[in-house]
Subunit: 238 residues, 2 copies
DNA sequence: AAGTGGTCTAGACCACCTT
DNA sequence: AGGTGGTCTAGACCACTTG
């Protein structure tokens, strides 16, 4: 048996400093509320420049383990404020990553005015016109995700001439238009008629749904509701 | 009307460089796939040190807008790989942040062997003993979240002597034991008997549930299943 | 082989906040 | 008022990777 090419713990550099400091926190040697030594002092201890300690501490602070304030110094957080990060990839990538074959189908396409609910979510004016698409994404021939999408024709008039028959609107969108703001929401909802018809849910069964809205410089671009097949779990580990 | 103390866009520093570069990407001037100028060149353009450009670009890369490789340079990502970040605060903080009054109740407490499902989730040995707690968190007197928690007594023997009558296990845990790894999962599940009894769900109704497991240096510490009251939405914006 | 980003250093000035 | 972190600079060496 040969070992995988495992990196030895770094002996120098900001990674070494970072990992040593994390270790002192995680081992309890520096418990919650402890005031850490100043950057200058740590730099002396580790035999490096202050900038190196600074980078290590900055990253530890970003991770939520410590809190830094001028003049007050760096303190171990009482309740480590950590974030869960989820990557929300294109469905195609998500499906192909599991080794399954991806297939896409457009179920419906229409131009509509915006409903009140949508105008609220997307922060749209009253007379907004939207392109509404209903799509289905398959993994190995089985329905995987139902996508209900609305595209603002004010922001993206060229969407009206796209037919979206062969590839999904999400792929077209990411290649076409950048965005500056995103809102993502997760919820558990009762299966509606479309989820029943296309995902094989019993009426009222629990559906895991993601809603995603994007804006470009304050202007709503698109809103999507992604409903997943029964049993879907969204997981992250860090 | 006075304006809020709005910060003018920075004129110098890595923030200025960062925001200018983001702007060029978001405006489409540097479209997907574009190779950016090198750090040296950008430093000349912006009249700053290379380290300043480096920091700006590093942060833009972390945000997923560009991809950097030695020798190859910095490229605008074709499909911006962006992450959704969720803070999962203590329920108490979550409730009090809305202005509501927080109340806690312990419903049940027992020491049990680990079920197969739990042993899988927590990666526990066969003979593991767990402290199982069932708790309810109220907002303004109404049930807000049902917490089903298991604590490994091998990792945390002192949990056995805690009674958890007055404050929740999560608060005790964050103040007592650090962790190095977390797994978080979201799902939509059908309301079980406890959600029906305590959260007012109809049997089988959709419940938004978060499962969270933590380890300290490879050793399972605790696992929690948090079920939310009807209509709960988890949202993030960036 | 060479050019790119990755990192470190030593020094400096500054903004901010706590005391 | 003074000490802390926040940031910038100029220069240097290094690691990686691609041509």
């Amino acid at each position: 048996m040969t070992r995988p090419p495992e990196r030895p713990p770094e002996r120098t550099g900001f990674r070494a400093v970072k990992s040593e400091i994390r270790d002192r926190i995680e081992s309890g040697r520096w418990g919650p509320g402890t005031l850490l030594p100043g950057e200058v002092e740590l730099a002396e201890e580790f035999g490096c420049a202050r900038a190196t300690v600074n980078r290590a501490l900055r990253e530890i602070a970003e991770a939520g383990l410590v809190e830094r304030r001028r003049r007050a110094g760096t303190r171990v957080r009482a309740a480590p404020l950590r974030e869960a990060r989820f990557r929300i990839p294109l469905v195609r990538a998500e499906i192909e990553a599991t080794g399954a074959r991806y297939r896409y189908a457009l179920l419906d396409r229409a131009v509509t005015p915006a409903s009140d609910r949508l105008r609220g979510r997307m922060e749209l004016p009253e007379d907004a016109r939207l392109l509404r698409l209903t799509c289905l994404h398959f993994a190995d021939g089985l329905p995987y995700q139902l996508e209900q999408r609305w595209i603002s024709l004010a922001a993206l008039p060229q969407a009206e001439t796209q037919d979206f028959a062969d590839s999904g609107p999400n792929e077209w969108l990411v290649a076409t238009v950048p965005y500056t703001e995103v809102e993502i929401a997760f919820e558990a909802a009762a299966a509606g008629p479309e989820a029943v018809a296309h995902l094989g849910f019993a009426p009222g069964a629990p559906v895991f749904a993601i809603e995603r809205t994007t804006w470009l410089r304050g202007r709503a671009v698109t809103h999507a509701r992604l409903s997943h097949r029964p049993g879907h779990r969204m997981t992250t580990r860090y």
